[in-house]
Symmetry: C2
Subunit: 222 residues, 2 copies
DNA sequence: CCTACCGATCGGTAGG
DNA sequence: CCTACCGATCGGTAGG
């Protein structure tokens, strides 16, 4: 287990016993915060960012409400931090593996495969965190949480469209195809698989999504 | 405004002043219940069936909590009644108009058009009620509300697949196509348009769905 | 349909 | 990180 002494070599403040103790506290606080956010992301994927209550989260972690709350200034900050934590996991589980594939169509296919696999193995208990919160906040009043949800979805949509454009630039897909249109359809198929799998727990949903995705890509392959 | 006297001709209990008064009360109660459910469906399409709280609903209707509550035995009964009310509206706004079209492909297209139009004109404030509650309950613990949501979604999926089969039987669509697969893809495109429109308020989402739907149908047309 | 409640839980604060 | 609170709101009940 890491404590202040293992961090000391890289710490310019080493030698001052007071700051060393403070750093130890900070490191412990950071670890606690991370474990809170791991639980928060999981809970929110099932109950939504509204159902993510401080009391429930504290009970799940065996902490007091106020102890947990002290890591965040408000429920909204907790919600925003939870979105940040989910984004990091999504990047690690979906974007990162896809980067191993060759540029162009192989990378687009790898991204979609990694996305479906992430939904299938339920990295979060309630399926795709972002699918859940997007549907939860899509018709809510404007606010920082809704803005964050919107921004992440825009990033995802643009990533898909950019990888379509890259596949076109590499001569793998018909350059006449509309990248935004194709990105819309690919996202739609994966999103439908996520909600159907969560509802029926029938893997056929992913098979349907995969078939739809590959038939779209094959139709545009050159 | 309808009251007990306008209902009397069809009522076998006419003539008994006590039951007439009771019927009047019942009719008034029924109308109140209906106005509650209209508001409930709208609120739930934005805030979800969990966010549908008795206090909020009572305030919106200018009623007392307990007065409203007396129409339902529990919050769960209110949620189930809200789903019933939303179903009736969906049938009236989506299924019924599609029945005007000729059997086969025209009716399938009419159903999809009516569905997109219903989402576009926001029959419910938060977009498609069923899309909202399906995503809200997909990963929840089993229970009567989740079961009702599942059942309605199964009905919708089967309706789409049956209309695909009818179009095949009428020689309008390739009989070799998998009706369930096509129904999955058509539903996915419409669902994606709903959430995107709610998030960005950009009508292009419906254009994308329409283009995707028509290209799928054209590819299978005979 | 109302007033007047109930215990539980909500987000949040004081003070250590 | 805790105990001990706060006012507001939750679903629900008693009694009329």
């Amino acid at each position: 287990m890491a404590d202040e002494s293992t961090l000391a070599p890289d710490d310019p403040r080493t030698g001052d016993i007071t700051t060393a103790v403070e750093d130890g506290r900070r490191a412990r606080g950071r670890r606690t915060r991370e474990s809170i956010l791991d639980a928060a992301v999981d809970l929110a994927s099932v109950e939504g960012l509204d159902g993510l209550t401080i009391g429930r989260l504290a009970t799940a972690l065996g902490m007091s409400k106020s102890g947990l709350f002290s890591h965040f200034g408000s429920k909204e900050e907790l919600q925003l931090a939870t979105i940040d934590a989910a984004r990091e996991i999504f990047i690690r589980e979906v974007f990162a593996p896809a980067r191993e594939a060759d540029r162009g169509l192989p990378r687009l296919v790898a991204l979609l495969d990694a996305w479906l696999a992430y939904m299938r193995r339920e990295v979060f208990h309630g399926g795709c965190f972002f699918d859940a919160v997007r549907n939860e906040y899509d018709s809510r009043q404007p606010g920082p949480v809704r803005d964050a949800v919107r921004a992440d979805f825009a990033t995802w949509s643009e990533s898909l469209a950019n990888r379509v454009r890259s596949a076109q630039a590499h001569g793998h897909l018909d350059p006449g195809a509309d990248p935004e249109q194709l990105a819309f359809e690919l996202d739609a198929l994966g999103g439908a698989a996520n909600v159907r799998f969560q509802l029926d727990r029938d893997e056929v949903a992913f098979e349907r999504a995969r078939r739809g995705i590959h038939s779209r890509l094959e139709a545009l392959a050159v």
